[in-house]
Symmetry: C2
Subunit: 330 residues, 2 copies
């Protein structure tokens, strides 16, 4: 059905009807504001903006995947605080050429992940727009004391969950229409790019056990996001290039790019955190509980050293860019 | 300074530094998510999307006014629930041609209203975009039991705060570059369009005294927004055209448009509510406390009657459109 026939309120009514009323939702879609329960007298809240042509290209992603990813990237921010995601507000700018089933596809992607994660859509806004734009705001329960970026200390270990660079390498292969895209290895990378996993269990356990002293999710690239921790915690960092966790697909397909994507490529949505040296055993214990590798990749040093990456011979590597900056890349 | 020189994180740092840390903010701008206190174990939350060329035109508004309005329209949604606004998340898509002082101007408009209203900016997102887009998410404290749209009953009175149609008439004058724009009366209308007032005190008192049984803010036009109350409460409504509260400026400048803007024009951000007939004295009492007129404009009837507007002779008026629908106007 054409959106112009369905109308704005017809669309909202459809979304409302297909939304399961979640736990803690006192009043969901359909009033001036949503009314939701919070725990511990407080809540976590994060927002993300995704714009067609800037953050995504409908050539490389389906609307279903895009919906899924919209929620996943916001969940990743809540995971990086050690929290549990709960309520989503979704504002959409929709091109006039879209049919209602296009919009439905996007919501289907969101719903599939929301149902699995206990997240409820409670509100938002809809409008026409020249190109597709998605603005999400996700609220979560803090659970334990949220893990900020400023608690790392000199001597701490630096860890990362999962593997790095898969998403950026996938985008690179897609953009240059690499013939390798048909291989299962490349398909794995593309799925990492299109359906990132927020490390909720890891984040929550690391917060509960007070192991992560500073934590962030890797969205703009390892070096850049580590830079945020360093700045907030007033420390420097030494990374061992050899230790970076790489998937088999990444190792097979990265070619001349080497570890560049793993160091500076964005959208991995893995958790990067710092923990006391004395907690190494405890971190290993957590790893067993969450079924996702946690890799020690470096350590925190004096801030005068900045961020240094050493290769396997102990030689300092230099990087032209540390990661993504929206305005500097204009 | 060019935004490309300042960079995304330079911009965020500037915004962070110029933001006063508000009450209840445990962790504001600068981490993966904000962490805020909530009262009564719950919170209200609303979102709005403003897109250049759809919701605003930089020909008719300054960036300062736009910032102010962004917050005001979200505050109006919280007011319509009887709540108190508290925390704002602001996501901006910024054209590459913008200088950092343009963005600063927008934030200045937001800050001026935020300071007056006890609202703190706690997070958001920034990105480049082809045209300016603003996505806001506002959280508030419920205060008392939030006033929804579904509590109106047959026989209730219908009231509205302030005056209607000023904003739509102002936009109309601006769009047709009316020569009357230089007059003080037109300037009053334009200020109503550019700097709308959220009726927070009225909303909060009407909720506290349990006078408003159903409430909504007039954002899409009186008839359309009344339609939302009617649908949710399963009632119809009779409005007396003669009773519609009009400003002197509106009466002087509406000309051939008559009461059209007052009935179907959007962006008044007045509160529309239904109250028991037996509460007329109490509503008058509230009016004295808030320094804003509250006008009885009709009554709730059986749903089979739909929404009827009667002129001064008791004749039914017909309307081609009831208000704004983003997709139907494609």
């Amino acid at each position: 059905m054409k959106l112009s026939r369905l109308g704005e309120f017809g669309l909202i009514e459809r979304v409302r009807r297909s939304t399961v009323k979640g736990r803690g939702v006192k009043l969901g879609i359909g009033d001036d504001a949503a009314w939701v329960q919070t725990t511990f007298g407080s809540c976590l809240v994060t927002a993300d903006l995704l714009i067609e042509g800037i953050h995504f290209d409908l050539k490389w992603t389906s609307l279903y995947a895009l919906g899924h990813k919209t929620l996943a990237v916001n969940m990743s921010d809540i995971a990086a605080m050690g929290g549990t995601p709960a309520y989503l507000l979704l504002s959409l700018g929709i091109p006039a050429t879209f049919e209602s089933n296009h919009v439905e596809e996007l919501y289907r992607g969101i719903r599939s992940l929301a149902l699995k994660s206990g997240v409820t859509l409670v509100g938002g806004d809809t409008s026409v727009a020249k190109s597709l734009l998605i603005s999400a705001c996700l609220m979560g329960h803090p659970g334990y004391r949220p893990v900020t970026r400023d608690g790392a200390r000199i001597g701490d270990d630096i860890y990362v969950t999962g593997t790095l660079g898969d998403s950026a390498l996938a985008l690179n292969l897609l953009q240059r229409k690499s013939p390798s895209l048909k291989t299962p290895l490349a398909r794995f990378l593309v799925s990492r790019h299109q359906f990132p996993t927020a490390r909720l269990k890891a984040g929550s356990l690391l917060a509960r056990e007070k192991l992560a002293r500073a934590m962030i999710d890797v969205s703009d690239g390892l070096l850049q996001d580590l830079g945020h921790i360093c700045k907030a915690s007033h420390i420097g960092a030494i990374l061992m290039e050899e230790s970076l966790p790489l998937s088999r697909a990444y190792r097979c397909l990265s070619g001349r790019d080497g570890k560049r994507h793993a160091l500076t490529g964005g959208e991995d949505y893995e958790l990067l955190f710092c923990a006391r040296k004395s907690d190494r055993r405890n971190v290993t214990r957590i790893q067993r509980l969450i079924d996702v590798p946690i890799t020690r990749i470096g350590s925190c040093v004096h801030p005068r050293d900045g961020i240094v990456v050493l290769d396997h011979r102990g030689k300092r590597l230099a990087f032209r860019s540390t990661g993504h900056d929206h305005f500097k890349s204009i």
